[in-house]
């Protein structure tokens, strides 16, 4: 009932008087985007980077009252470039790295001798293995894992009792990974994927969608929702409204579980969106949000500890004392057993928020947020002393 904590004012005063400099390096491995049927919605070149910049501005405003100064350096390595050399150079300057790179690259960097004792924030790779058998003690994951997102979607479908699903999957590795996550989440929440088809057409759907998609979906058995696994936005935008039966589309297109979306406005999100649009001149994307959350997590830890070294910050971030106000309605914290940032997952369509997972009724002994993604007993991660 009652919690009174006597706190020594002296502590904050001493933290405040010290001049602290915090250097953060944002390192990106650029990836060639595969060709897509539509030329709409290209991925902005500064995806992610702008989120880190906003996080830095937020930190700097707080820091000015405490004598804490923050700097952000951005290195973007072209496809095929020497990312490990760039990582070594960055780690020579700072132990705080925000990394936008695929899983294999992330592991190579985390395992560099120079990365020992550093703190790397994974702002991009959604692979489950990084939160399980391939976890690293020096890597925290601010991007949600794939199954955190697909669990969110399945919670919603189960709550609505739309429990018989069809799935159309593209052929790219990201599509296959997303489809696999959908299958795992379907099993977890006992929702049935009754039928699967692979989209392997090479026709230009801007001419043919109305003719081909009805036929392609005509033989699907009865289903409540048509799932699409199309993570690069290739074909699924042409599936909507062209199905044989009148079906709602969810997954990569239609109703999507995402880390962030420009349609969020509740929980103070309107303010974050406004600041982002002022800075970047475009809407805030999931990778921007992950990068923002990484830089803000660093800022919050520096503010509360008065320290700037990776070891102190890591210990604080993984402790019960850390919480980040992430504009998703409840505090964000790190899972102490695999370094994953706990976070609600918005389920959105292009015009509005549909629901925020975890949904009411999905309970967990520790935190309802742990109903999303790998839970402690399922994670094979041991690097965090688990």
């Amino acid at each position: 009932m009652l919690r009174i904590v006597a706190v020594l004012g002296v502590f904050w005063a001493s933290a405040a008087s010290a001049e602290v400099s915090v250097a953060i390096h944002y390192l990106r491995q650029e990836v060639e985007a595969p060709p897509t049927l539509s030329g709409l919605d290209p991925i902005p070149e500064d995806d992610g980077v702008r989120g880190a910049e906003l996080g830095l501005a937020d930190n700097a405003t707080t820091g000015q009252f405490l004598g804490h100064a923050y700097t952000l350096e951005v290195t973007s390595v072209a496809p095929g470039g020497d990312i490990l050399a760039a990582a070594r150079a960055a780690l020579a300057e700072t132990g705080l790295l925000v990394l936008d790179a695929p899983a294999a690259t992330l592991l190579a960097i985390a395992d560099l001798p120079e990365a020992e004792g550093a703190l790397i924030f994974n702002a991009a790779a959604e692979d489950e293995a990084l939160r399980s058998e391939d976890c690293r003690a020096n890597v925290l994951h601010v991007a949600p894992s794939l199954t955190m997102r697909t669990d969110a979607l399945m919670q919603f479908l189960l709550q609505r009792r739309w429990t018989t699903l069809a799935l159309i999957t593209g052929t790219l590795p990201e599509d296959l990974a997303y489809a696999e996550a959908l299958r795992r989440s379907a099993v977890k929440f006992q929702v049935e994927i009754a039928v699967e088809k692979t989209w392997a057409f090479d026709a230009d759907m801007r001419r043919n969608a109305s003719q081909e998609v009805p036929l392609f979906t005509q033989d699907l058995p009865p289903h409540d929702i048509l799932l699409v696994a199309d993570e690069w936005g290739d074909f699924a935008r042409f599936v909507m409204f062209n199905t044989w039966e009148p079906k709602l589309v969810a997954g990569s297109e239609g109703m999507s579980p995402v880390a962030w979306s420009p349609v969020l406005e509740q929980w103070g999100a309107a303010q974050l969106q406004g600041r982002f649009v002022d800075l970047a001149g475009r809407g805030m994307r999931p990778r921007d949000y992950a990068a923002w959350a990484a830089v803000r997590s660093i800022g919050e830890a520096v503010t509360r500890t008065g320290a700037a070294d990776a070891a102190t910050l890591r210990a604080f971030l993984l402790s019960d004392d850390f919480e980040l106000a992430g504009f998703k309605g409840r505090p964000l914290t790190f899972r102490a057993w695999n370094g994953q940032l706990r976070q609600p997952i918005p389920i959105v369509h292009p015009r509005a928020l549909v629901a925020m997972a975890p949904l009411e009724g999905f309970l967990h002994q520790r935190s309802e947020l742990d109903t999303l993604g790998l839970d402690q007993p399922e994670s094979a991660c041991t690097a965090f002393g688990g």
Binding site: L2, V5, E300, E323, R330, P331, E368, L369
Partner: protein
């Protein structure tokens, strides 16, 4: 059931005295005026866009309204509901507080990381003070010497010397501070932290933290217990604390800092106002679009009154 309570109230007018509660409806661009004697909405008055903070002048001849998305503070004649003029408020005014001199408004500009001081007579900006990100909670000490701004993303209470309009202290609190109030004759400052789930109590003399109040409601996850607005009874012995999406108001003993009771109200409770005789407390419930009436002596919710969409601020007019 509800009508029975209403009849009971009508039959006992001495219990709830005359007066009105003015409620800003954030997503309707209106004010709902509740008549305290009948507990019914008697007027709905149009305002600028996204009205939030609301306060009356000392003599109640003027009402000031933060029209956040119109980037202005509107000055209204409460008799007629007519807008008399706008005040230069800075961008996105969210909350404000009227200085005891009845002349200066201290306004939190949420999008601009600035506190704006406006002279309501000359209608000019007297000062703008840089504060943390997303300033929101505003308070002025009873002697008028200190103004407080809380910043939601910087997680601080900023202490402003009203004589110089300079910051003289910045104190950290838990995440997302929303509201601030002075109490104990201005010797104590309370600041609520929405995401942190706490109220921090400061000694005003040296800005040190003297206590932190936590909340725990059985059956509701701590993440959802989010303190926002709060009000003290005139004797300063009791604080009523709105706990946001937990849909409860906490009754806190302001002398021992112990939580004594939780009262179930509407969904996402924001702010509150007392009736003139302090026998009733009115809470704005953002998501359910209504106002809960609390019997202060009994510490029980007695009635719900439908208002506009997303009611936010509340102010009493005798």
């Amino acid at each position: 059931m509800r009508s029975a309570i209403a009849l009971l109230l009508l039959a006992a007018p001495c219990w709830a005295d005359a007066g009105e509660i003015w409620v800003t409806n954030e997503r309707d661009d209106t004010i709902s005026v509740i008549d305290i004697a009948t507990l019914a909405v008697t007027r709905t008055i149009p305002t600028g866009e996204r009205p939030r903070g609301i306060t009356f002048s000392k003599d109640f001849s003027r009402v000031y309204i933060c029209a956040s998305d119109s980037d202005t503070v509107q000055v209204m004649d409460p008799e007629t509901g007519a807008i008399l003029h706008d005040l230069p408020s800075g961008e996105d005014p969210e909350q404000f507080v009227l200085h005891p001199d009845d002349r200066h408004l201290y306004i939190a500009n949420e999008d601009d990381a600035v506190t704006t001081v406006v002279d309501v007579e000359s209608r000019t900006v007297v000062a703008q003070i840089n504060v943390g990100i997303e300033p929101e909670g505003m308070a002025v000490s009873p002697d008028g010497k200190i103004a407080i701004t809380t910043s939601e993303t910087t997680n601080m209470a900023h202490w402003i010397d009203t004589g110089t309009h300079e910051l003289f202290a910045n104190t950290l609190v838990d995440s997302r501070p929303r509201h601030a109030e002075f109490t104990r004759g201005g010797t104590e400052l309370w600041v609520s932290s929405e995401i942190g789930g706490t109220i921090t109590v400061f000694s005003v003399a040296d800005q040190t933290e003297v206590a932190k109040i936590g909340f725990e409601i059985s059956g509701i996850h701590p993440d959802r217990v989010q303190p926002v607005g709060f009000r003290f009874t005139p004797d300063e012995k009791t604080a009523f604390v709105a706990l946001g999406p937990s849909n409860h108001v906490a009754v806190v003993n302001a002398e021992t800092y112990e939580v004594e009771k939780y009262i179930l109200v509407g969904r996402r409770v924001w702010h509150m106002a007392f009736s003139p005789d302090n026998s009733l407390l009115f809470t704005t419930n953002g998501v359910s679009g209504d106002v809960t009436v609390i019997d202060v002596a009994a510490q029980e919710a007695t009635q719900t009154i439908k208002v506009g969409r997303f009611p936010w601020g509340a102010a009493m007019r005798p």
